[in-house]
């Protein structure tokens, strides 16, 4: 767990870096998530005060966007593309395989905390699908063997 003082200090530093920007909330939230791995509830009042908006508005923004997490993810995040171009190359079968193999559904984390599985709708790798992004690394032309090797390394 993060200690409250560190959290508040880091949040203040992030706020200070962005407050002069027009429409600073998204850059702030991206940095908070990059720092802590998710958007801790405790940060919300601090962000709201700095931007002179309500805590509800900050919560509204955090909850609107798929990228922002309200709880930490597993140690590794596997995002499989579910969009049409990847579907045309077998993405549905591949994601069914991944869910069965990991024993989780979309947005869930394996019980040992190793892998969080998420859908992504397009990585712009549409002529070499199915595509995925694993811990920020882009991967194309996936098949079950390639995916099994990746998941084996993460587990």
């Amino acid at each position: 767990m993060l200690d409250t003082a560190t959290l508040a200090t880091r949040t203040d530093e992030i706020l200070a870096a962005h407050l002069a920007r027009e429409g600073a909330l998204l850059p702030i939230l991206h940095d908070i998530q990059a720092e802590f791995g998710y958007i801790p509830q405790e940060c919300l009042p601090q962000i709201a005060r700095a931007l002179n908006i309500s805590r509800a508005e900050v919560h509204g923004v955090v909850s609107f966007y798929h990228d922002f997490r309200e709880v930490p993810a597993g140690r590794h995040v596997v995002k499989l593309c579910r969009a049409e171009a990847c579907q045309a190359m077998g993405a549905d079968e591949l994601s069914a395989h991944a869910r069965a193999k990991l024993g989780v559904d979309w947005h869930e984390t394996t019980p040992n905390g190793a892998v969080t599985l998420e859908p992504v709708f397009c990585l712009g790798l549409c002529a070499c699908g199915p595509a995925a992004i694993v811990d920020g690394k882009l991967i194309a032309r996936l098949d079950t063997a390639k995916l099994d090797a990746i998941l084996g390394d993460l587990a």
Partner: protein, 508 residues
């Protein structure tokens, strides 16, 4: 020896970074003198990672490249097992009219001098000597229409912003390229980012805007990094700053990153997101051109629209307008994707038929099975059957067939595709990505999934219900998400009725 290896997401996703490291290691081991340049992609995805070597005859291509192919690069190049010949002479390259993508894959995207030496800033230099109204007139005369999908004339949008009186105006580049099968924005930003910056600066000169934003989706980490570095480069070289190129007005810009909401590709939703709000769609009017970012006059243009401005200014509106078909002028970067033999980006004048694109350029499916359907224009675009393959690629031509060209992405499906499943996915996607503001989209998409499921269970009475629901969504939604989701659904239903004729027994 000068070696090129793309930094483009496609090449990286297929192992380019490992190859780059291996080439450098090999060279230092053997003592070979090399200069490794990470360029953009040429757009031939089936050949990626595509390594190029500069020779007196031109750049020779080798691909798809693997680390095992490295040692042979230092022998007789013509005998290399992956030798493709001169890249520019390959049929895919020779068949194109590369205007917007002329430098993509050719230059080092983050080398200012390389950009300059290859025609970069020619358009901006000309624009700096022109009156604002003349720049707008030139863009209008080019016939350029919004490449994001809506097809609205760019010059008219600019004129509205130019004529608006305000202390602060903005140029917002929509780089939230969320449609499946589209990657032109990504390729351009990764392969020739200074062209986009040049286009945005010209837009600023034309409209009196002094501040720009590029809103890039978070799913494009490499494009974000390259664009951020390109902005620093442009600022360091005086293109951006207090005076454009030392003789123009002020213009500066920022890169902003989205947060995984598809609907933020819609311009008003994007503006809300940029302002730090929920990406909820705004009702129009007021038009963003009059009340956009922070309530000020704002040009919101797609990456490709803005990146096409420099070449229009450099070569003149007449040169651009001479290419194309009907009211679709200039070139369009076709993005050929899904189940295709030869996929990638192919920039060409409007007017090729869908059949020419799918059969001749893409070479049919990767699986070798017959093409069943092509979805044109992303997740909100219609599924076209082979019977409509004679449709010429143009805004009006596709609208005439109950479809749209959108951002010019094409997803090819072979005969194993289940069009009922595709219709269901279109509704499911709309339900996931709806911003929730208007009822037809928010509720309609959920009901749409349920209705398709009833049809799948053999309930034919649900078919007219689905058609009726689509009519409501089409005319009752605030933006294209709810309004266009009926395109894939109804085209699947109308062109592939057999996939919707499920018998009760089979379902049970």
């Amino acid at each position: 020896m000068k070696i090129y290896l793309p930094l483009d997401s496609v090449a990286v996703a297929l192992g380019a970074d490992d190859i780059a490291a291996a080439i450098t290691a090999h060279a230092s081991k053997t003592g070979a003198q090399i200069e490794l340049i990470r360029n953009g992609s040429r757009g031939m995805v089936w050949l990626e990672p595509l390594v190029e070597v500069e020779t007196p005859a031109g750049r020779m291509g080798f691909g798809p490249f693997t680390p095992a192919d490295i040692p042979a690069l230092f022998g007789d190049l013509a005998q290399h097992p992956k030798a493709l010949g001169l890249v520019e002479a390959l049929p895919w390259m020779a068949g194109q009219t590369r205007l917007t993508f002329a430098r993509c894959g050719v230059i080092d995207p983050l080398n200012f001098n390389d950009f300059n030496a290859n025609g970069g800033f020619a358009g901006l230099t000309r624009a700096l000597d022109m009156a604002s109204a003349d720049i707008v007139a030139e863009v209008t005369a080019s016939g350029l229409r919004g490449r994001g999908g809506a097809g609205f004339p760019t010059g008219i949008k600019w004129k509205t912003v130019a004529d608006a009186k305000a202390a602060q105006k903005y140029i917002v580049c929509n780089a939230d390229e969320g449609d499946s099968a589209t990657f032109a924005d990504r390729m351009l930003m990764e392969g020739d980012p200074l062209t986009l910056i040049e286009g945005m600066v010209i837009a600023g000169l034309a409209t009196g805007a002094t501040k720009g934003f590029v809103y890039i989706r978070s799913e494009y980490p490499i494009a974000i990094e390259v664009m951020e570095r390109a902005v620093l480069l442009a600022r360091a070289n005086g293109v951006l700053g207090a005076s454009v190129m030392g003789r123009g007005p002020a213009f500066d810009m920022e890169i902003r990153v989205g947060a995984g909401a598809y609907v933020c590709g819609e311009e008003t939703s994007l503006l809300n997101s940029l302002e730090g709000k929920r990406g909820v769609v705004r009702a129009k009017p007021p038009l963003p051109a009059l009340q956009g970012f922070m309530g000020q006059p704002t040009v919101v243009n797609n990456v490709i629209s803005l990146a096409s401005i420099p070449v229009i200014m450099a070569k003149g509106a007449a040169h651009y307008a001479a290419i194309g078909l009907g009211r679709s002028r200039g070139t369009i970067p076709l993005q050929i994707a899904g189940n295709v033999k030869y996929g990638g980006l192919f920039e060409v004048g409007f007017g090729l038929t869908l059949g020419q694109i799918v059969d001749d350029i893409a070479g049919g499916t990767a699986t070798g099975r017959p093409v069943k359907a092509v979805q044109v224009g992303g997740p909100l675009g219609a599924y076209f059957p082979r019977a409509l393959f004679d449709t010429p690629f143009g805004y009006e031509e596709f609208a005439g067939k109950e479809g749209l060209i959108g951002h010019a992405g094409l997803t090819v499906f072979d005969d194993s595709a289940d069009m009922l499943a595709q219709a269901r996915f279109a509704m499911e996607f709309c339900a996931i990505e709806s911003c929730g503001k208007c009822t037809p989209c928010r509720i309609g998409a959920v009901r749409g999934v349920e209705t398709v499921d009833r049809i799948a269970k053999g309930d034919a009475a649900a078919i007219p219900l689905l058609t009726d629901l689509c009519a409501t969504m089409k005319s009752g939604s605030l933006c294209a998400l709810g309004g266009f989701t009926p395109y894939p659904v109804l085209s699947a239903l109308n062109h592939f009725p057999a996939d919707f004729a499920r018998s009760k027994e089979a379902a049970e």
